[in-house]
């Protein structure tokens, strides 16, 4: 405990670094997954390529991906970008499928009605299809965020600072309080981020809580 109180400031600061390392890729991955998922939803051929490919990417061990990154994108060995790009790839691998599935699940009659009212393709996508996909997407983003928070720790092994660094350092110095503090901090971050995403997901989809009988006075 004295270790924690002595290093509290450092813990907070590294937690912040860890969050950026883990969540910036979620954000970027999400933005890239939307068009990719749309393509997979729109064209059968694209789907048969993209979905298995993303499944395959997801099976690559994270450490291996971190290590080969410099060779792939020309970064320095210790560059945090190696971890971020790798985590972005994992996010995309996860979310492309979510996006495609969510878009597939938009009811056909709603799409037909939107087309019949004269929505343009792009407008329909952003004001009808995408909002209706939010519940499924939120689930996907939560998995991606929690996964990335845990994977980001592994970056410590190749020297990219994160909460994982407390574990590597703790092992080197056989400093158990440091190791435990690192693990607890990672867990807390994951839980808090997951809860926040869940909350935001609920807040932006008020219609999902509106069902018949939930409001008084509904009559035929």
């Amino acid at each position: 405990m004295t270790w924690v109180s002595d290093h509290f400031g450092q813990l907070l600061q590294v937690s912040g670094q860890h969050l950026v390392l883990a969540l910036l890729p979620v954000l970027i991955g999400f933005v890239l997954s939307v068009p990719l998922g749309w393509v997979a939803h729109r064209w059968r051929l694209a789907r048969t390529i993209l979905i298995p490919l993303s499944g395959l990417l997801y099976t690559i061990p994270s450490l291996a991906l971190f290590v080969v990154m410099p060779a792939l994108i020309g970064t320095r060995i210790l560059d945090p970008l190696n971890v971020q790009v790798a985590l972005t790839i994992y996010t995309i691998a996860l979310l492309v499928r979510s996006v495609a599935d969510a878009l597939d699940a938009v009811p056909g009659h709603v799409v037909a009605a939107a087309n019949a009212m004269g929505f343009g393709q792009l407008r329909r996508f952003f004001t009808v299809d995408l909002p209706l996909s939010v519940p499924v997407l939120t689930a996907g983003v939560r998995v991606a965020a929690v996964t990335n928070i845990s994977l980001a720790s592994i970056g410590a092994i190749i020297g990219v600072e994160s909460l994982g660094s407390f574990l590597t350092e703790g092992f080197n110095r056989t400093n158990y309080p440091e190791i435990i503090a690192g693990i607890v901090a990672i867990l807390v971050l994951a839980l808090v981020v997951d809860a926040l995403l869940l909350l935001v997901g609920k807040l932006i989809t008020p219609w999902t809580r509106a069902t018949r009988g939930a409001s008084k006075g509904a009559s035929a």
């Binding site: 009811p107 009605a113 939107a114 019949a116 004269g118 009808v128």
Partner: protein, 371 residues
């Protein structure tokens, strides 16, 4: 006006959904496309707003070939109502109705005001505007669908089985509502259904399709009942068509004879015919059997009467004359054999008999023959 000129739709898999369709839909009328499942009704309808492109032939709206118009532009001028209403689940009822005005560039405030007016027009309380579609019954959702289609006041309304997902009672209410709205709005409506009764009730003209996308007959509903073009149409129109055809013949000039009535509380009359018991406003209460004197003090009470049959409204309910069908039904369903004729307020004005309906029918036939 909407005109189909030799329109054919062949899907990529070779299915011919619509085969050389030629017909024109008069402006300001309700035209119904009816036929068995898969006969190409939806396909025909969707070629009007270009949700489906014709393989060959032309569809003209107000003389303009739709193929030469921008789909989005074209569609904003054509209201479309589909079976499950197709409401946006993530938008409130009010925002759903305001959709097309907003797409057409109206200000938010103006679009919402308009949307409230429309909710009222289709008979929904304005407070419903704040709800999400999932918080409405199926029938209410359909009304919202109709309101949304009407929001930008398009001259044309396409309706694809809009009432088929609701129960029969609600459906009838919605049909009546549509007729009332149409009397007020005077739109050009193309209405798709597979229910011939709905077609006959709503259509000023009815197009019967057969499987394979061929037009079997295009006629006024009375004509369809009286003279189906072929075996297919006649079997599709179904049983009782002679009887149902009476619904299109005015009972104008049918003899309304005098009917003996007695108010509740009066002395039981001495007669050996049926007597109709009426209330203080001369509205029918029930029938007194011939020779029935079961009442203790010799006065008529409302209990123990024979329930009456359907009523023949001489004013036809909305300012028109009643039909021969309602007169005939009144006569046939009355326990006494005397059909009870009432005026617009429901007060008894006399009786009609099956014989007088038949007499009126033969007179109408003679007139049709000499005309």
């Amino acid at each position: 006006m909407i005109e189909f000129r030799d329109v054919t739709k062949r899907y990529p898999d070779g299915t011919v959904a619509v085969d050389e369709l030629s017909l024109s839909v008069e402006a300001g009328t309700i035209t119904v496309f009816v036929g068995p499942s898969g006969c190409g009704k939806t396909t025909s309808l969707r070629m009007v707003n270009r949700m489906i492109e014709a393989t060959s032939g032309q569809v003209l709206v107000d003389g303009q070939d739709v193929a030469k118009q921008k789909p989005a532009q074209l569609r904003r001028g054509i209201g479309y109502v589909i079976q499950q209403a197709g409401l946006f689940p993530h938008r409130t009822v009010l925002d759903n109705v305001a959709t097309v005005p907003l797409l057409s560039g109206w200000s938010k405030a103006k679009a919402r005001t308009r949307a409230s007016e429309l909710l009222e027009l289709v008979g929904l309380p304005v407070e419903f505007g704040k709800r999400y579609p999932a918080q409405l019954s199926g029938g209410q959702q359909q009304r919202v669908g109709v309101a949304r289609a009407l929001a930008a006041d398009p001259p044309i309304l396409l309706m694809d089985e809009p009432f088929s997902a609701v129960d029969p009672v609600v459906r009838e209410g919605l049909q009546d509502e549509l007729l009332r709205l149409q009397a007020e709005l005077d739109k050009t409506i193309v209405f798709v259904t597979h229910d011939i009764d709905e077609a006959i009730k709503l259509g000023e003209k009815v197009a019967v399709f057969r499987v394979g996308g061929k037009l079997a007959q295009y006629a006024e509903p009375a004509e369809l009942l009286r003279a189906p073009a072929d075996e297919f149409v006649s079997s599709f129109v179904g049983r009782d068509r002679g009887y149902r055809g009476l619904g299109f013949l005015s009972a104008d000039g049918i003899a309304v004879e005098q009917l003996e009535t007695v108010p509740v509380g009066a002395a039981v009359p001495t007669t050996n015919d049926w007597v109709l018991v009426v209330d203080g406003e001369r509205k029918p209460v029930g029938w007194l059997r011939p020779g029935s004197s079961s009442t203790v003090d010799g006065t008529v009470t409302a209990d123990g009467l024979e329930p009456g049959g359907s009523l023949y409204d001489v004013e036809g309910g909305n300012g028109t004359t009643g039909s021969l069908r309602s007169a005939m039904d009144a006569a046939l369903s009355s326990p006494s054999g005397h059909g009870v004729a009432v005026d617009g307020s429901g007060a008894v004005v006399g009786r009609v008999s099956a014989e007088s309906v038949l007499a009126a029918l033969s007179k109408a036939r003679e007139q049709a023959a000499t005309a």
